[in-house]
Each structure stands twice: as structure tokens, then as C-alpha cells.
Point group: C2
């Protein structure tokens, strides 16, 4: 079996590939475990070279149909569709967001359909589909109302995944991710970039700017738990999902103040003093429309894991980047 | 000002054009009333010839960008986007539905954007965006879960209209229509076609087949009220709509049995005896996913009119097709 990961050079894509290689097998379209023969990483930049002979890479513009045709071949039984133009960038360049977040997704789905094998497609959606006046606890039955182009584009692909699945073209699954924290690496153009930056940069001895009010409540998940959720979303039986393929992933509901307090408990006040508070309306406006918590009953019944608390998230990040 | 009506040869498009010509003016982008210089009817079939010199027609495939470029010119201040591949046909021909219901809509929105005048765009959406387990009364905050490709395609364009509006490309408004009854003319490929057929055909001395259980509850609106709702959706101030441009139009919640009882009260038992009850699973499956009633608080606060009862709808239809 060939497993395709779009966004395969990104940090979630890389971790997912690593986990899959370790596992060595994954459920095929029939539901039975199959050996992984190949993992094809598709991304606009080349991923770090892998010594594993099962890893193939396809580098280029994901909105290019020929590129995707090359990646999704007749042996493709699973696709993890993680590639996206992030929120801040989709807001800055509308046409780029439409092209990558919608057009490329549709090409990908049409290719999966044309292969005729009804592959499992796990799509990474986002908390950003929500917006407007939200209840304190967002339910699965709460209407989406995106307040960013990124969120609108994610919500549109969710609808496509549901319909392509209903029609039997694919076996689609949508994981609506919370804000991921702590991401390693450098800040990116996502409006949620600060949610990692205010932990990562101070731990690294650098100053971080927090662009939102400390009482801003966000819904976060660690990268490790996100990967576990992706795998579980892939493995869950199709019947268990029914006609609604969209699952809100479990997260932690924390304020920025609570995140910083956890950082202080784990790493001390000197580290925390490296955070500079400087509100940025552009970021605040987007983040304020995201829900601070959502109901996870369905996610848990499907076996999706969750983080215990934010202290543990900070500790896990520390162990990873500064192994002792 | 040039007003574009897509689906302008259809029965709602024709009525809307007639009403606009009678009015003679409509709110422009500034909100001030402007004289209507031209109404451009876009449709795949030519509309009946009009003697009014303000009427222009553009005939062809709405998914053809050049055709739309021809219709939507720099003097276009309003677009009523009614053209669609109906539910039964979008289910039978997936690619046709995607091309007309999504691709053409996006081209239309992009042209409106490129004209730079932020035209008012009123989009006809549908009850078909809803599905799955619904509350007895669907609220504005109830999540959509389309169970037909038509419904998914309408829900996708709703998201585009909201985002194009948020970004200031257009001044969009979405009217989610109930099932329209009584449509004049002949049956069509919509799953809801029976909701007109069981009234229209018996009144015309013909047999009609009802493909659903008599206790099926549907949410209906008369054509006349639908036109009034389109006009009011266009005229309402942009600020009154806020960030959610989607409005659930007021309808009547009736069972098919109640519709037939109304027909009997208005036209007598002989007429009603022309209905043959023969369930069709394909139709029932689609119709069963539509809500039987939705909350109309917002619609009414925006001044959208509603029908009094189904007897009045049958009477209005009779007056129109059999004027005495």
C-alpha cells in the first residue's frame, strides 16, 4: 500500500510519517491491516532526506494536477491531507488560499475518486471554521461561521469530504484540530503562531511577543496528541462515523494566562519574563472568533486521545527539544 | 444600473424580472434607490421574448466564463443568482452539479469582485443544506449537514458568499428557500418536484404521483412570497445582516396530508382523487433529511414576508393559472 501525506515536509507531516514507518502497517480500504510499502510525502519544499527506503517524495505545487497525479497512484489506499496555506497567509493572499486550500483539495479528491479504490482520506481541518456568537461549549451540531478565508476554505473542503464519502468516491474523515501548541521551529504566518511562540521562544532564551490579551481563551492540543488523533481517525471503522465524517478533536481549554503560568511552573520566572505583551488587532480579531472549548463526547467515543494539562504539554516539548 | 438575474428564464427568474420592471428602481451599492436601466437575464435556454426595452438576454452555459463576463459588466450593481442544477439532477450527474452549482458560482463571484463596485449579490440557497438528526425547529445556529450533492454545493456557495462579503469583494446575501409550492409548468428533476405536482396536476385534470408518505412534513413557501423575500433580501441594509449573510426564509410547516386536505377544501374531492400514492425511496431518502420547520425570528426581523396558510397558496395558484 502507498500512503500519501500532503504537507509531508511540515512538522506534523514529518511526525506522522515517522509514526507510520514505526507502525509498519495501517488499515486498508477493507478495514484489515496492510503492510505499508511506501509513504509518499508531497510538499512544496523537499522534506529532510530519509534513510528509509519506503519513503518517496514529490516536491512542487500541490495545486498542480500533474504533481498530484504522480503522487496518488493506483496503489494509494490512504491519504493524509495536511497541506494548507495557513490562516494569516490565506488572509493576506486570498487567491493563493483559494488555489491551495480549495482547488488543490478538490483535485486531490477527484484523483482519489478516479482511482476507484475508495481510499481513506483524512483531512486536517481547524477550529477556524467556527466564528460569530458561540456557546461556551461548541457542540457537533453548532453551525460553523468562519471569520477568516482560511476557515471558510477549510469548511468548504469539509463539505466536499462529506459528499464525496456519501457518494462512495472516498472513505473520508475530517479531523478538526484545535490550535497546536507547542510547535517546534520558527513562527509562521498562522494567526495562532503566538500560541507556540510564547512557550518556545522564551525556553530558547529569546523574546516572544504575545499579540492577544492574557485572558484570551484558546483550545489547544499538543503535536503528539494531534498525530495520535490523525492515526485513530484513520483507523476507526467507517460505520462508526456515519454520514457526518467531521470530528472535533479533543483539546484543552486554556487562557493565555494559564499557559504562561504553566510555563512558569515548568521553567521558572526568568523564562516567562521574556514574553512581551503587545496586542495586535489583526491577530486578536481572528483568534477572538475561535471557540474556547468544544464538546468532545463524540471524539472520545471514537477513541481519540487527549492531553492531560498544559504543564504536561510544556514538559513534553522540553523533553523533545532539549533531551537530557 | 444593470441588474443580472441568472436562471432568468426560469419561473422564479421570470417573475422576479417582471416585478423589478414594475418597480423601476432598486437600491444601489450606496443604499440609495437607483433607476433600473437594464435587466440582463442569463440562462441556458432563452427566456420568452420581452417587449420591455430594458430587458437584455444572455443565453448559454453559465459555467462559461466568457458568457458571464458578457452579462456582468461594469454597470452591474446587483446580481440575483438563481441558476442551478436541481437536486435530482445534481444527484444523477455529480460533475454537472459541481460545474454549474459551484464553479459557475465562483466565477460569478470573482467577476463581481473584479468589477470593483461591491455589487449586491442575492444567492438562492435551499432547505437542502440541512440533514441528519435535526431538532424539531431548526435554528440559525444549527449546523448544516447536506445529504445530497445539491445541498452540499449550495452550502459551499453560502460559505463563499459570506467570505467574499467579509473581505469587501461583494455585498452578499443568501436566502435559504423552503420548498417552493405551487410551481407552475411541468415536473422537474428536483426531489421536491412532487410538492407542486400533487397540487398542480390534479387541478389540471391530470394524475399526479406522490412519492412520499402523507405524514412527511415539509417546509413550503409560495412563489409569490419567495419573490417578495428575494426583493427584501436585496433591499435590507447591509449592516442589518452583520457577518452572517445567510437568512432562513419564512415558510409554512405542513405535512403532505395537510397540503392535500387544503387542496380538497379549495377544489373538491374529485380533484384530490387524481393523486396516486406510490412511494419512491430515492425521493423519500432525500426529502426525509430536510427540516420540517425552522426558526424565522431573524427573517421576520429583517422584514421578510410569509404565507398565511396552504389554502391561500392553492387559491393564489388557481387565480394565477385559471383567472376568471
Amino acid at each position: 500500500m502507498n500512503i500519501v501525506i500532503t504537507g509531508g515536509a511540515g512538522f506534523l507531516g514529518q511526525r506522522l510519517a515517522k509514526r507510520l514507518l514505526e507502525r509498519g502497517s495501517l488499515s486498508g480500504p477493507s478495514g484489515r491491516a496492510q503492510q505499508i510499502d511506501r509513504i509518499t510525502l508531497v510538499d512544496v519544499v523537499p522534506p529532510p532526506e530519509s534513510r528509509d527506503r519506503r519513503v518517496a517524495t514529490v516536491t512542487g505545487d500541490i495545486a498542480d494536477r500533474e504533481l498530484l497525479e504522480h503522487a496518488i497512484d493506483s496503489s494509494t489506499t490512504s491519504v493524509f491531507h495536511l497541506a494548507a496555506v495557513v490562516s494569516g497567509m490565506a488572509e493576506a493572499d486570498f487567491d493563493l488560499g483559494m488555489r491551495v486550500n480549495i482547488d488543490a483539495s478538490r483535485t486531490l479528491l477527484d484523483l482519489c475518486r478516479s482511482r476507484g479504490e475508495r481510499p481513506r482520506v483524512v483531512f486536517a481541518s481547524s477550529v477556524a471554521v467556527y466564528g460569530g456568537k458561540l456557546p461556551d461549549l461548541v457542540l457537533d451540531t453548532t453551525a460553523v461561521l468562519p471569520q477568516s478565508s482560511y476557515g471558510a476554505q477549510k469548511a468548504i473542503v469539509e463539505l466536499l469530504i462529506n459528499d464525496y464519502t456519501r457518494r462512495g468516491f472516498i472513505d473520508g474523515r475530517v479531523l478538526r484540530l484545535p490550535t497546536i501548541s507547542v510547535r517546534p521551529g520558527r513562527p509562521n504566518a498562522a494567526a495562532s503562531s503566538f500560541a507556540s511562540g510564547i512557550i518556545r521562544e522564551p525556553l530558547n532564551g529569546e523574546t516572544a511577543v504575545c499579540p492577544v490579551d492574557p485572558d484570551t481563551r484558546i483550545w489547544v492540543q499538543s503535536p503528539g496528541t494531534a498525530i495520535d488523533c490523525f492515526l485513530q481517525m484513520h483507523e476507526v471503522a467507517s460505520d462508526a462515523l456515519g454520514s457526518n465524517r467531521i470530528v472535533n478533536a479533543p483539546g484543552l481549554s486554556v487562557t493565555v494566562r494559564e499557559m504562561v503560568a504553566a510555563l512558569e511552573r515548568v521553567a521558572g520566572p526568568t523564562v516567562v519574563s521574556r514574553i512581551r505583551w503587545q496586542r495586535d488587532q489583526r491577530v486578536e480579531r481572528i483568534v477572538a472568533t475561535w471557540p474556547g472549548a468544544w464538546d468532545t463526547t463524540r471524539a472520545r467515543s471514537l477513541g481519540l486521545p487527549h492531553d492531560e494539562n498544559f504543564d504536561a504539554i510544556v514538559q513534553a516539548y522540553l523533553r523533545e527539544v532539549h533531551p537530557t
